[in-house]
């Protein structure tokens, strides 16, 4: 890649909008070309400055009220006429109100029956999703497979960057949730990048961290309300799996580092997410 091309694609790279191959080629160029690297640094600094310090003009409360009442005025013309008609019938026939309510009674019963059936359907469809030890084992197999594949197929990251402000927006646009992304370089776990993965029947975020010569895949997806919150560890095929959850997310860290290092990683990650 030459400078001209790098400059042209730099903003796409900064915004995490390039495909992994092109991102990697840009990164290589930035490593070799001081001038482009400098330009990239400036753009990054500028981007951060805008995100951080440019004022975000929130709507004043009275605007919300103004909009709501103007919407009501637009939609509500017939509303008031309807109210008038109701009054009219109430006045001409004293029994109107009672009549209006009574024919609905069978519907209330139907609604109750429907609610019971619906509750039963929802209940039964959620039952298999309750975490049993067996499903954890199955998930563990999936997690290890995904971890191994990421190292084997040279597809460790979709967006390779040690900058959390690059990885996070990239993931946010690809997923229907916004996972916390934190660089833990100073704690000995530098962020390497992020990747999309598919686990437990849903798209998940995979954050890749390094630790000495090892890699840690941290899989993140939104927590279900009934999910078990207690952290747990699983050791399998020489891999360590560590699971924890906060009110928003489920975390599974997978690596071949030893269990203490993985615990330390979890601690650091939790402390930093709590602070954010």
């Amino acid at each position: 890649m030459n400078c001209e091309e790098a400059i042209k694609l730099m903003d796409g790279y900064l915004d995490g909008e390039l495909d992994p191959m092109t991102s990697q080629r840009i990164e290589e160029h930035l490593r070799d070309c001081h001038k482009c690297e400098q330009a990239y640094e400036t753009h990054t600094a500028l981007a951060h400055a805008i995100s951080r310090a440019a004022p975000y003009y929130k709507a004043p409360t009275e605007l919300r009220q103004r909009i709501q009442s103007s919407l009501r005025a637009t939609a509500g013309l017939r509303d008031s006429r309807g109210a008038a008609r109701e009054n009219h019938t109430l006045l001409t026939s004293p029994r109107a109100e009672r009549r209006f309510v009574l024919p609905q009674t069978p519907w209330n019963w139907l609604a109750l029956a429907a609610a019971i059936i619906l509750a039963a359907i929802i209940g039964s469809s959620f039952l298999p999703r309750l975490r049993t030890p067996a499903s954890d084992q199955f998930l563990a197999t999936q997690l290890i497979a995904s971890h191994v594949r990421s190292l084997m197929a040279n597809h460790l990251t979709d967006v390779a960057s040690s900058d959390q402000h690059t990885v996070k927006p990239w993931l946010d646009t690809k997923l229907d949730f916004a996972p916390p992304v934190i660089d833990l370089s100073s704690e000995g776990f530098p962020l390497i990048g992020g990747r999309l993965d598919y686990l437990d029947n849903r798209p998940v975020a995979a954050l890749v961290y390094g630790h000495r010569k090892h890699f840690i895949n941290l899989f993140v997806w939104p927590a279900a309300p009934d999910e078990a919150k207690a952290p747990k560890t699983i050791t399998r095929q020489g891999y360590q799996l560590l699971h924890w959850a906060d009110p928003d997310f489920n975390y599974w860290a997978v690596s071949d580092v030893n269990v203490n290092d993985l615990q330390l990683f979890k601690q650091q990650f939790e402390t930093r997410t709590a602070r954010h």
Partner: protein, 209 residues
Amino acid sequence: MALQLKTEHASDTQDLEPHQKVVKFVVLKKSEPDHAERAELASFEETMLPHLDAAHNLARWLLRNEQDAQDVVQEAYLRAFKSFSGFHGSNGRAWLLTIVRNTSYTLLKKNRAVDLSTTFDEEIHASDHESASPAAILEHAEDAELIRNAMDQLPTEFREIVILRHQQDLSYKEIGEILRIPPGTVMSRLARARGKLKEYFAAQIGKEK
């Protein structure tokens, strides 16, 4: 329970028998159009009101005036409500912001505050010598006043794309949909906007010294 249901129902019908036809007429007339409209309004508010801050922020940056911004946002919400039945997409925020943007431009054009042709022809690349260093930018990165001044100087097209990207966190695809340009153009316009901003930023820093 079935038995209870039957008996209750039976007693109701008996009670109503003499006036049943009249009752049905009243119920239909009263509930149907109102109910549908109220449901539509509720669904509209539920989908669109969460984006009120985003809408206001975009209008405020485009118009650089609080009163105009509020008027435009209110107008945009009314327009959006009127065409809400035509909205079938999943991205309510992008859809609403498109309307806010169009409404803002209508006002800007009316006030002749914006001339689309000149801002686009401007040569951006010729001014690299004025560029600020990353260190200088970082040093002033928390200076909201300075950043706002630099942003306010940007041509409207550049200001809006910077806002959509950095404050609304929209993807190139979403920005492209709002501005009706392909993602590649989003990238090049953002590049030019940032270049320009860098220049203004440097000028602002220079002024301070």
